[in-house]
Symmetry: C2
Subunit: 307 residues, 2 copies
């Protein structure tokens, strides 16, 4: 079978660090073009204009959108119109409302729309979901705390509207929580801390509940220096499950069950090839819905300016 | 056919002013109970506890939830569990995430869930939708400006998280816009003005676009004294349509086409009886989605304190 020919759109850090090697490492995929206003990749045909790329490289089968989440809708609609599959880096869009027309268009075009959540492909996520499926869950605690200066040096867009602030990493935690818990959750109370000079929050303290009332507490903080925390703990009748290192390390009652390697993006592209084989879509808006709810229902505090 | 027996939950201003007379005015409906912590209605069995009401008045067919939007999920789930239909006053919930489990539960229980948007039952809405169905729309302008001191005297909850602030009236405008336009819209840019001493916005300036790029501008303001504005204008190839007085007055090119009476809530309950006759649901989350998107993507300004 000939490989699926992919065009990468938006050549920034995430495209270079993750998408390029993941595509290169999969036999069923081939990177055939890039589209970016300022960047290109050696040995790959590069374009600045999306429409021009689709016209000049008609053999493209799928476009993978790694641009900032604002203004992806037009690219995706144009891609479906041209009969391509579409992969969306997380978060899938700057607004929830943009996504429904994309889901409808993918269906109409009989092509795949894959709204990716890379953290869901961490090695511990699937076994955690299976372990929890028959558990009586008592409470869930999420600590997602990192040093924004280390992970996002000089990236001003994260502080602009649409950049989501601390929800940019926090949505990864929510993508795991919504994947491993057997029932949907919703926000009951939240506090968002906005630096005095910034448009997005640097920290969030959130209380969720599932439909049976099980409490889920989440603390997101971008001011954590020293050791970084990407931990989810679930206390259940059958024991205490912890997912650490962003989902790669799974322990039950303190005992290591699985210590995975980082292969989230290879997992994304492997899943994409399965979806594309039968033109199926995979679009779960739950993580972005919880974030929008947090902005809507959360109380805002102003904290120290961030420079 | 025997009437549908309704229990009203949350006996405040909106229940007394609108729901009670609308139910009384419909031959197919009968008000048989109320549930409220502090209030009751003369001549109607009243309860403080929701579960007790369902047990003591088993003939209830439907519950109409007029409580504040936070914490309705538990009532609705319990009602479906007991085989009742559920009507939700707008906004249907404090978060989007609460609603999906309700939709699923209604389906499982084979009962009606009706998330109401009263402004959609204003007399001009249906003819406006029909007039726009074959129009080439150029732009849409919404002005929804009223005096919060006049309309919400002493109602502190509107300034608390979940109270939505100026989006409490603004969501009525969005419920009309999303009903009359032929294509979905999404936010591209927004500014929200928060009084220095309040948790919800007093004004919002929003830019939307539909999937073809048609611009929709909306100005919501709660500081309007003097004449109040609840106006939507659509400029199209075939003329200029204006909906005023919250949807009751329809004009085309300045000429009055229809001047309706206020019968929004009778319209809600008439539609409910049709839905309940075949256990169908009517849940459109578009207006609340646009509001959540505005909180997520909108830039926040701090303005003068509101007392």
């Amino acid at each position: 079978m000939s490989p699926i020919r992919i065009a990468l759109v938006g050549i920034g850090k995430i495209a270079r660090d993750q998408h390029v090697p993941a595509i290169a490492g999969h036999d069923g995929l081939e990177l055939v073009a890039t589209c970016s206003r300022h960047a290109s990749l050696d040995g790959v045909r590069s374009f600045k204009d999306f429409g021009e790329m689709l016209r000049d490289v008609p053999e493209i089968d799928a476009v993978s959108l790694c641009t900032p989440p604002t203004a992806r809708q037009a690219f995706a609609l144009e891609a479906f119109e041209a009969g391509k599959h579409v992969i969306l880096e997380k978060p899938p869009a700057a607004t929830l409302a943009e996504l429904e027309p994309l889901v409808a268009k993918a269906k109409q075009a009989n092509r795949t729309l894959f709204a990716t959540w890379h953290s869901r492909f961490a090695d511990g996520v699937r076994p955690a979901r299976e372990w929890l499926a028959d558990a009586r869950i008592e409470r869930v605690t999420v600590n997602w705390k990192e040093d924004v200066r280390h992970w996002h040096p000089g990236q001003d867009w994260i502080w602009e509207p649409g950049g989501l602030g601390v929800f940019d990493p926090g949505i990864n935690a929510l993508s795991i929580v919504t994947a491993i818990l057997p029932r949907p959750i919703h926000l009951t109370k939240g506090e968002l801390s906005f630096p005095a000079n910034r448009a997005t929050p640097i920290a969030a303290s959130l209380r969720f509940a599932d439909v049976t009332g099980v409490p889920v507490e989440a603390e997101f903080d971008w001011r954590q220096t020293g050791p970084q925390s990407w931990d989810i703990e679930v206390v259940a009748d059958k024991g205490r499950l912890t997912l650490s290192n962003g989902g790669a390390l799974l322990r039950v009652d303190g005992k290591t069950v699985l210590e995975g390697r980082d292969r989230e993006y290879p997992g994304i592209y492997a899943h994409f090839t399965e979806l594309a084989a039968s033109n199926r879509s995979d679009v779960d808006l739950a993580p972005l819905t919880l974030v929008a709810d947090a902005f809507m229902l959360g109380r805002r505090n102003t904290v120290e300016a961030f420079d």
